[in-house]
Every structure is written in C-alpha cells, then in structure tokens.
C-alpha cells in the first residue's frame, strides 16, 4: 500500500442504478482517486445543512481496472445513511469519500488461486470486485463462489454472475434461505458443511478463502470452514457488524 495521508475527497454521483428492491449501485467520480485493490472499502461521509455529519464504510464493487468507483449499498431499515443513499441519491449529487482502505481483505490476480468466495447477502460486494478484477484479465483462476441470499430477487449482480460463471475455472453456486422460485435446483438452506464440501475446493488444494456478510453469517461460515480443515490464517473475513445503516 502506498503511504499517503488519508484525505476526504469530494465525489460526484455519475449514475445510480437499482440492483434489487433493497440495494442500489452508486457510480462515483472521485477526482484524485489513487486506485484500489479488489476487496477494499471506502468511508463515506454525509454532511447535513446544519453541519451534522454521519459516516459509514462501504465496500467497493468495481474492479480496479474500471475508471469510476462503484459502491453497492443495501438499505437497512431504520438506518441513518443507507436509506438516503439507496432511495434519495441521484446523478449529480455530491458526497465525501476517503480511501481506499483495508489492505487485509484484498486479492490481486497475480496472487492466483484457487479462490473460495463466500458471500452472505450484500457481502457479495467486495467479492464482486475480485471477480470483476479477474474478468479483466485473461488468466484462468479456479474460483468457487457461494452466494447466500434470502430469495432469488435479493441476489445482487445476478445476470453478471451468470456470465462470469461461463468463464473457465469459475463456478458460481447460490443458496436461497427463505424462498425459492419454482423449479429451483440450487441450494435452499443456510450454509453448512455439506454445502461447503460440494462447492470446494478442498482444504488440501489450499484455497485463499474470503468470507463477507453479516457478523453471524461470517462466524458460522468461518467455523464450518475451519472444521472442514481450512487453516484459520487462510480465511479472511469481513463482517458488516452493526453498522447503524
């Protein structure tokens, strides 16, 4: 990571697009953006007219190869910041960002695979940056993706994931924990050991494992992965925690 004082930068919303009924992607132009590594996040700061400020962290969804910075924000009921970002923000709006930050939860294509990416809900966002980063290169990487969502309509980047899954080496699995569409052939339960075993790669393939999602999801996934024999050091976790939305 380059060493530089961390500064707040003015960002302008270039475009905003709904991903699901509860999540929206904001494409930001950030003059002076130093570039990021897939998996990193930014701090976002909003300032009200009376000077009141609220700050939250959001994962970057876009690949480092893309010019703009994309954030996908899920609306948290009763949240202070996310309802504004998901429902109110439109092209031309300004907000402040600082970053990118977080060199621990990152992956570069030259680090290679195999990869195991496990997402709970919008925990898919930083993992999508990794997949988009991979898609920007010719290299074939054994990348297994497991996405846990409540229902099919809650799955972020659904069509793009289907396209990515056609790449050699990439396998995308979904599990739907609340409701499944008719004829559903994917997993239909909370993640468990059998599911992780089916998704692979096995521990002896020494995959780099990235798990992101709500705290309880990440705890469960990490415990299951360790029980399967993955060394704890090989598992990198990013928990949302109580963000206050």
């Amino acid at each position: 990571m380059p060493r530089a004082p961390i500064v707040w930068r003015a960002a302008t919303v270039r475009a905003a697009a709904d991903e699901t009924p509860h999540a929206r992607t904001l494409l930001l132009d950030v003059p002076g953006w130093p570039g990021h590594v897939a998996g990193q996040h930014v701090d976002v700061r909003l300032t009200a007219d009376d000077g009141y400020q609220a700050q939250r962290s959001y994962s970057i969804a876009s690949a480092p190869e893309e010019g703009a910075v994309a954030l996908t924000v899920e609306r948290i009921e009763d949240g202070e910041v996310s309802p504004y970002l998901v429902c109110e923000t439109r092209a031309g709006d300004e907000l402040e960002v600082r970053g990118p930050v977080g060199g621990h939860f990152t992956w570069r294509v030259e680090e290679g695979g195999p990869l195991l990416l496990v997402a709970g809900g919008s925990g898919l966002v930083p993992l999508m940056s990794m997949l988009r980063h991979l898609a920007a290169h010719e290299q074939t990487v054994d990348a297994r993706v497991l996405v846990s969502s409540r229902g099919w309509d809650d799955v972020l980047y659904r069509e793009e994931l289907a396209v990515l899954a056609r790449r050699p080496g990439v396998a995308v699995h979904h599990t739907l924990t609340r409701e499944t569409p008719p004829g559903w052939e994917g997993f239909d339960r909370r993640i468990d050991a059998d599911m992780l075993r089916a998704v692979g790669p096995p521990p002896d393939a020494e995959p780099r494992v990235f798990v992101c999602g709500p705290t309880a999801f990440v705890e469960r996934a990490a415990d299951l992965l360790v029980a399967l024999g993955h060394p704890p050091q090989a598992i990198r976790a990013e928990r949302f925690g109580p963000t206050g939305g």
């Binding site: 004082p5 930014v42 930050v101 977080g102 060199g103 621990h104």
Partner: protein, 91 residues
C-alpha cells in the same frame, strides 16, 4: 455469544487507523500481551462505542484503544506491534 454482532474486523476500521497512523495498519502484526498470539490487525476484533477498541481475536485482551476527541485522537497500545512503513525510493 453475548457480544455477537457488536464487533467488526480490524479491517473494518482501516479508515480510522489510516487517519491515526498515516499508513495501512490492517496488515501490521500485533502480538498479544496476554496470550502471546500473533495476528494481523485486520483480523483482530474492533468494538466501536464512545471510542474504538481493538482486541486480540484469540483471547479478547486489549490491543489498542482509540479515543477520538474534538481536537485529537488519544491512542493506547498494548502488546507488541511491528509496524513497517514504506519510504520513498532513494534518489
């Protein structure tokens, strides 16, 4: 677990740590003064309340406490920290 959901990974407070230390701290090694375990700061547990507390993921002992006041951050560190900071290349 009683504290489930109340904490983040050290990686999640990377912005605050970068503000305080002017470098990415999430890959820095910390050795716990209580249990001796070593691990990167990004994999520690971060608790945010009136201040921010970083704890050893193995035993929960204090690794750092950051109190953010109007005009400064007050930082208390515990255990051993190995911080490597890049320098600009020599001319």
């Amino acid at each position: 677990m009683a504290d489930e959901g109340l904490w983040l990974d050290g990686n999640g407070i990377a912005g605050l740590l970068a503000e305080v230390f002017a470098t990415d701290m999430t890959t820095v090694d910390h050795g716990c003064r209580a249990c001796g375990a070593h691990g990167v700061v990004g994999a520690h547990r971060a608790y945010r309340g009136a201040g921010t507390v970083l704890r050893c993921p193995e035993c929960g002992d204090l690794a750092a406490r950051i109190s953010t006041l109007p005009d400064r951050h007050v930082v208390r560190l515990a255990g051993t920290w190995l911080i490597e900071v890049p320098r600009p290349p020599a001319q």
